[in-house]
Structures are given as C-alpha cells and as structure tokens.
C-alpha cells in the first residue's frame, strides 16, 4: 500500500477500510481498528463481509462513476466481541498501484441519530397506514352511496310495484265478497298493505330525499330538522345564505354531512337549540352546524374508537377537495363546519341518477 493513501485514510475522522476487488481488506485506518475491535494487522486480508455479517455489500469493481458510489447507506457492523452497532457506510472506488480498489467509509450512528432513524421509519409506516386507512374510508363512503342508490332503486322497482299490485287485487276481490266477516278481514289486509307502502316510500325518502333531486338542499334539510324537532323537541334555526345552486352530487354530500352532524346532536348533545348555516364561500359551500349542548372533551372522545360519524363527515369533505373542522369542549356545545367546492371534483356514485321514489 502506498503511503499517500495510507496517510489520507489515517487523516479521516471516520473508519476507513480499503478493499480489493475480491472483497478482502487491503488496509484499514486506526479508527477502523478501534471501531471493530481488531488491530490493523488482523483486519488485513479479512473479508469485508465478516465486518457486516448477513448484509449484502457489493464491492464496486471499477471506477464506473455509478451514482450509488459515494452515497451513504445504512449497515449494522459487528465488532470482534460480537457486539453490533448501527452505522452508515459509503463506497468509493480508487486506483491503487495500477489496480482498482474500493474505499469503504464507515460512520457510526450516534444513539440520538439512531433513535431519529427509528422514529422517522415509524412515522413513515404510520403515514402509509394512514393513507391506506383513508383510501379504505373513501372506498367505504363510495360503496355506501352506491348501496343506498341500489336499495332505493330496488325498493321502487320491485317491492313497491309488487305490493301495489297486491293491493289492487285485494280491492278487486273486495268487490266480489259478500260475507261481512271476510270483507272485514280483507279491509285489515288492505290497511296492512298500505302501511307497508308508506313505510317503503319513507325509506326511499330517507335514502334519497326528493327535495335534493329538485335542487332544494335547504328544503331537504328543513324537512329533516322539522322531523328532529317533532321527535326530540330541539329547536332549530336554518340560515340558508347560498345563492349558487349546488350540483346534485355536492348537494347530496352536504346533506349527508349536515344530517350526520344533526344525528349526533340528537343522540349525544342534549341540546336545546341547533343552528344550521349554509354560506357561499370561494366557489363553494360552507356549512356550519352549531349546537348549545353539553359538548365533549376531544382528548377523551377522539382517543377511543367508535366515533365513525365524525370521521365520515371529515373524510367526505376532504374527498370532495374541501376541509372540515369539528370542535367541542365540555359545556360549550359542538361546532361542525366544513367547506366543499361546488364544482364536482369527485364522483359521488349514484348521485344524479333518476329518483327511485
């Protein structure tokens, strides 16, 4: 080994090992000897892989100018006493005495850096999992809408038609019956059939409110608020300040989100009043649902699973290219506000199809 290279490697602050094309150590500096716990003579002729057992180390065989030379990669080194340490290493091919050798620079990762690596990788994993969860939720939201539309169409095209036909036949049969007891039984049967029809029509209404189909979002919300008032006594105020008309899929999304928020008010808030506002903001709709209920502690509620309704509100808004804020604290009621663009930047499956009811 010529002296200039030796002097150069000794001057390095990092451990340096010079390796021939067969992967054997030609020389090592004092820092390498100290790091691995061998003396410099013991390191000479040692296969470099013995210093990094179980890891793929490809020795560069020529000065190819490849991009991967000179770049640090993570390795785990093994000392003479078999203890291991995390490190980063980099290859650099050099011409030594007319043949190509490779210089391996090894830098130990300090404990704090090591912890940072672990943390960084942990966060990456969380991000990937978060993105998977988000994709799954989006898929579920779409699937749910598709399913709603399919069920509404099936009820309209099949169940309602069949029951209507049965009701007509019962009426015809009634004209032929003379026995008063039989006529009474038939009357009860017709009542039952009519009740079934009413219930199925209400179900279709819940699945796809007819006001939404005629572009009247505020009217659809008012109908739901009125139903809520008569069921639970919660007084409502609806401020519709929207001048633009939301396209069907956007109106359906706003309706679903406001309704979800109102369902929470009904179930959990113990509120006396609720205010719903619809505002034009920046080519979109800002919807706000504010109640005067008991509120909740977000630290406690968000830490436990099972508040899917709130998650769905947020995901629906973000899926549409908007944003959402849900805030509360004990004694201060709850505020849900979200903004969605009126331009259809997303596909809400099932929306825009003909009304089934």
């Amino acid at each position: 080994m010529n002296n200039p290279i030796r002097e150069l490697s000794d001057a390095f602050p990092d451990a340096v090992v010079i390796v021939d094309s067969q992967g054997k150590t030609i020389a090592a500096n004092a820092q390498a000897a100290s790091l691995f716990g061998y003396n410099e003579r013991e390191l000479t002729n040692m296969p470099v892989k013995a210093l990094f057992p179980g890891q793929l180390l490809t020795v560069p065989r020529q000065r190819s100018g490849r991009e991967d030379t000179g770049r640090y990669f993570e390795v785990v080194g093994t000392r003479s006493d078999s203890t291991r340490f995390p490190a980063v290493a980099a290859w650099m091919p050099v011409l030594v005495d007319h043949f190509v050798a490779a210089v391996l620079t090894i830098r130990v990762i300090a404990e704090s850096q090591s912890a940072q690596f672990v943390l960084s990788r942990g966060l990456e994993t969380l991000i990937w999992e978060g993105q998977d969860r988000q994709a799954l939720l989006r898929y579920l939201i779409r699937a749910r809408e598709e399913e709603r539309a399919r069920i509404a169409a099936d009820i309209h095209d099949d169940a309602i038609q069949v029951i209507s036909a049965a009701s007509l036949r019962a009426q015809q049969l009634g004209l032929q019956l003379r026995d008063p007891i039989a006529r009474q039984v038939l009357g009860k049967l017709q009542e039952t059939l009519n009740l079934s029809l009413d219930r199925l029509r209400q179900l279709i209404f819940d699945l796809r409110p007819p006001d939404l189909e005629s572009g009247r979002l505020a009217a659809a919300l008012r109908a739901y608020l009125e139903e809520m008032r008569s069921d639970s006594g919660i007084v409502y105020k609806l401020n519709d300040k929207m001048t633009a008309q939301a396209p069907d899929p956007v109106a359906l999304l706003i309706y679903r989100n406001v309704r979800e928020a109102l369902t929470n008010v009904r179930k959990h808030a113990r509120a006396r009043t609720v205010t719903v506002e619809l505002l034009d903001i920046e080519d979109g709709c800002l919807a706000r649902v504010v109640d005067d209920g008991v509120g909740y502690d977000p630290a406690e509620v968000e830490a436990r699973p099972g508040h899917l309704g709130l998650v769905l509100i947020k995901e629906r808004a973000e899926l549409a290219g908007g944003w959402c804020r849900i805030e509360s604290c004990p004694g201060a009621g709850t505020t849900v506000e979200f903004w969605v663009p009126l331009a259809e930047s997303f596909a809400e499956p099932g929306a825009g199809r003909g009304r089934a009811g």
């Binding site: 960084s120 966060l123 990456e124 991000i127 993105q131 505002l279 903001i281 920046e282 979109g284 800002l286 706000r288 502690d297 977000p298 630290a299 973000e318 290219g321 908007g322 944003w323 804020r325 805030e327 509360s328 604290c329 004990p330 201060a332 505020t335 506000e337 903004w339 663009p341």
Partner: protein, 152 residues
C-alpha cells in the same frame, strides 16, 4: 421530517415544541385573538389553503395541523383551561406554517392569533407579489402554480 410536515418542517416542529411552554395567560390571549377573527375570513383562509396545494402538500398541512391541535389540547388540559378556540388557533397556525408564507393573506389570518404569543410567526411576511394573478412556487414535489392568495 420533511416528507411528513413539508419543506417548512423545522418551523412546524419549532411551533409545536413551543406550544407546551405557553402559559395560561398567553393561552387566554390566543383564545381572545382567535375569537376576534371573523369566522368567514378564517373559512376563506382554509379554503385557500386546500385549493392552492397539491394532495401531498395538503396531507402535510393536515398532519401539521393535527399534531399542533393535539399538543394544544394536551397543554389546555395541563392548564385546566378548556376552550377549543385555543387548540383551533394552534391547528390553524401550524397549517399555515406548513403551507408557507407564500400563500399570503391566509398565512396572516391563520397565524395571527398564535402570533400574539409567538411573534416570530408574524415576522414571516407574504411576498409582495402575492396579489398578482398567479404565483409560481417550488413545492416539494416540484413547481406548483398557485392562484391569487388574496381573499375577496
């Protein structure tokens, strides 16, 4: 951390780290300032944030906002000062910092309440040309075109 909080990740982390040191009096100042801001202006600022950023950037902005909100919520618990305006202010400010001051007016609107106790947030002024029709900024994933950052 850049891939999590975006190119201004150091500022986001500094902001989040500072939240734990906020005193009850400072929290009161932030809360008062947040409540003084018009909800419509704040909504416009958030809308501008989501409209002018790519999906990746939006993810980073929301990650910063979410973490800052959690820190502020924990701080509020420690101080026994539960007012959601406080953690909403922290969330707004972190989102704006992650998006960067290039967004102009929304940056000021969203950082202003927290800036009452963290003056360095207000120190980053929007570039003078953000009132122009289009501003092109280099995002993490390459150049991105932003629409006017002004709010009507």
């Amino acid at each position: 951390m850049e891939h999590i909080f975006g190119r201004d990740h150091y500022r986001v982390i500094a902001l989040i780290a500072r939240i734990a040191d906020i005193s009850p009096e400072e929290a009161g100042q932030v809360t008062t300032a947040w409540k003084r801001t018009s909800p419509a202006d704040r909504a416009k600022a958030w809308t501008e944030l989501v409209r002018t950023t790519t999906e990746t950037e939006r993810y980073q902005i929301l990650a910063a906002a979410s973490l800052a909100r959690r820190e502020a919520l924990a701080a509020a618990h420690r101080m026994q000062r539960m007012d959601w305006a406080f953690w909403a202010a922290a969330s707004d400010a972190a989102a704006a910092v992650a998006a960067g001051p290039e967004i102009g007016n929304p940056y000021q609107t969203l950082t202003a309440p927290l800036a009452t106790v963290m003056p360095s947030l207000a120190g980053r002024q929007a570039p003078a040309d953000t009132s122009a029709a289009d501003v092109t900024t280099a995002g993490r994933g390459g150049a991105r075109t932003r629409k006017s950052a002004s709010t009507p």
